[in-house]
């Protein structure tokens, strides 16, 4: 198995987390894959309510839950000692434990022992599969779209998920392909590209979107930015391994610098567009930009549609904010 694959249905674990912003992984799974979520497990009455049926470990085991997915992320990425007994109980009941935290599940002896008893898996979605190949550059069948960005954390995953949803609604066969930990927990499978050893980045990206039907679209979650001083190499390998037919440039209106790198000015959408075409041509010379997806939260509400219209005219491309306009204009351009 060269992709991480999670067992459904899920029990989303909220622990004792009371702040919704720290439960965004759980929220993302519920927002985008409600059909995979059978219940939620909260350790305290005040913990975040994701709107799923409450379920204890024994109820989950009886209901045939495949995975307990930890849907929260603490600063520092640790697993609080107060959670361990419940996680171990689930593992002992044969339920896989899934997490994307800095603390490795396998570093907690009680969990290892519990999983060992039942054969349940401890799945760290930050750990890439073993035996990834080196990229071949060979053409694969099917169609692919990659979301790229002017920076990190500005909607590449969200845009890809919305495109998948809208393609499917339009009757087009499409699959979101997750390249990061939250995306993997939402999609139930994927490869954490940024955790792969350097030599295998493009090879991992090839595995992520394998051969498919000629009319099928893989919508691949982008990572980093091709102009990012820390993560550009990840973006480069993901781009040439994905060999996309189309890409969407994602941007956050008003952002002026790489977030966390105040000395690095943000590249323009046009620069990202041009560089993506240059680099991506190595494995798909027909690569083209299908549109621009902007988080316009920083633009005054009454000016957002004008902002998108002007941006679209400037680049001669559909410019959308998925939350405001949907992605129909990009779909029309595929």
């Amino acid at each position: 198995m060269q992709r991480i694959e999670l067992k459904a249905p899920y029990l989303v674990f909220v622990g004792d987390e009371t702040r919704l912003t720290y439960a965004k992984t759980g929220r993302g799974i519920v927002d985008w894959r409600r059909e995979l979520c059978a219940g939620q497990l909260r350790l305290t009455a005040g913990a975040c309510d994701l709107g799923l049926p409450e379920m204890s470990v024994s109820e989950a085991a009886a209901a045939g839950i495949g995975s307990l997915v930890i849907g929260t992320a603490l600063v520092g990425g640790s697993i609080p000692p107060a959670w361990v007994a419940t996680l171990a109980e689930a593992a002992r009941a044969g339920i896989d434990i899934v997490a994307g935290l800095h603390t490795r599940l396998a570093s907690i002896p009680e969990l290892v022992a519990a999983a060992g008893e039942s054969g349940a898996r401890l799945v760290d979605v930050r750990i890439p599969p073993a035996n990834l190949p080196v990229g071949t550059g060979k053409k694969r069948s099917g169609k692919r779209l990659l979301t790229v960005g002017t920076d990190c954390a500005l909607g590449k995953k969200y845009t890809a998920l919305q495109l998948e949803k809208d393609l499917r609604a339009a009757g087009v066969a499409a699959d979101f392909r997750a390249s990061g930990q939250t995306g993997i927990m939402i999609a139930g499978e994927g490869i954490p590209i940024d955790c792969v050893v350097a030599d295998f980045i493009s090879g991992a990206a090839e595995i992520l979107s394998p051969d498919n039907d000629p009319d099928h679209w893989d919508v691949i979650e982008g990572q980093g930015s091709i102009f990012h001083p820390g993560y550009a190499a990840v973006s480069h390998g993901l781009l040439i391994g994905s060999q996309p037919d189309a890409f969407v440039v994602c941007h956050a209106a008003g952002r002026t610098h790489i977030e966390g790198w105040p000395h690095m000015p943000l590249p323009s959408i046009g620069e990202v567009l041009e560089r993506t075409v240059q680099i991506g041509a190595l494995t798909n010379p027909a690569l083209r930009c299908a549109g621009i997806s902007v988080n316009t939260a920083a633009v005054p509400e009454t000016e957002r549609r004008d902002y998108l219209t002007r941006l679209g005219e400037r680049y001669g491309l559909p410019a959308v904010d998925p939350l405001l306009t949907g992605t129909a204009a990009i779909l029309d351009n595929l």
Copy 2:
């Protein structure tokens, strides 16, 4: 310690290897760092002679040898059982064991036990240091030159080592910076960039050539090629993390395709030059090409100088074959 650092002097271990092509790591160390090599250890009389004094483990221990360096590479990269007793004897005597093979030294219990007794290290130069940072993109002091290539395995390491030698001979402070396993064994330190986790490639490259005196040159060993379907991401991260002031494009005359990727045509020197300037400008807008270094072995002997002259005229740059012409023309252009 964020770079691998080896203890000198070295005892170069040849084992029972009789074929010089399989002892090229050992030969490289002797060719480029003769002053670090105190002796060689051969298990059989017919094993390759690297021209160093013969030395047993007990003689090596008495002579204060810092590291036994395995100077051969078998197909498959394993460590033959017949070697283990000698390697363990050295480790027990307090001598570090250094290897760059697929088989991890730490996977051999006898070696782990021997090293544990004395405190000697088992150094796998394929394993990057822990706790590498994410790239910052911040300007560092000192000057840097990076060798880049139209492909793998065409002289990037050799060219960098020759440039270091010639710069030093010209009275310029210069250090070869090793980014691959053989280079690390030659230099005695470095980071195996292609083994680093994706998120940390450019950060590792920043650590590899730290701040230095304003007139000091770091000559950085390149990896892969920016047009390589498997390894371009490594080349990209190494380029922006190195933030070179100058680069040399390395090429093998007559090569038409990426070696091992017969469906991928080789990029031209001009394409590599242009793309390197485009990408490298992110962290050093003043980046420029200082010359072209070609392995002309495939050109008839009488035509090599003409070939280099024509190439130099075509690109308006010094074109050298380090073995044939030296690198003086490139040095003049720095």
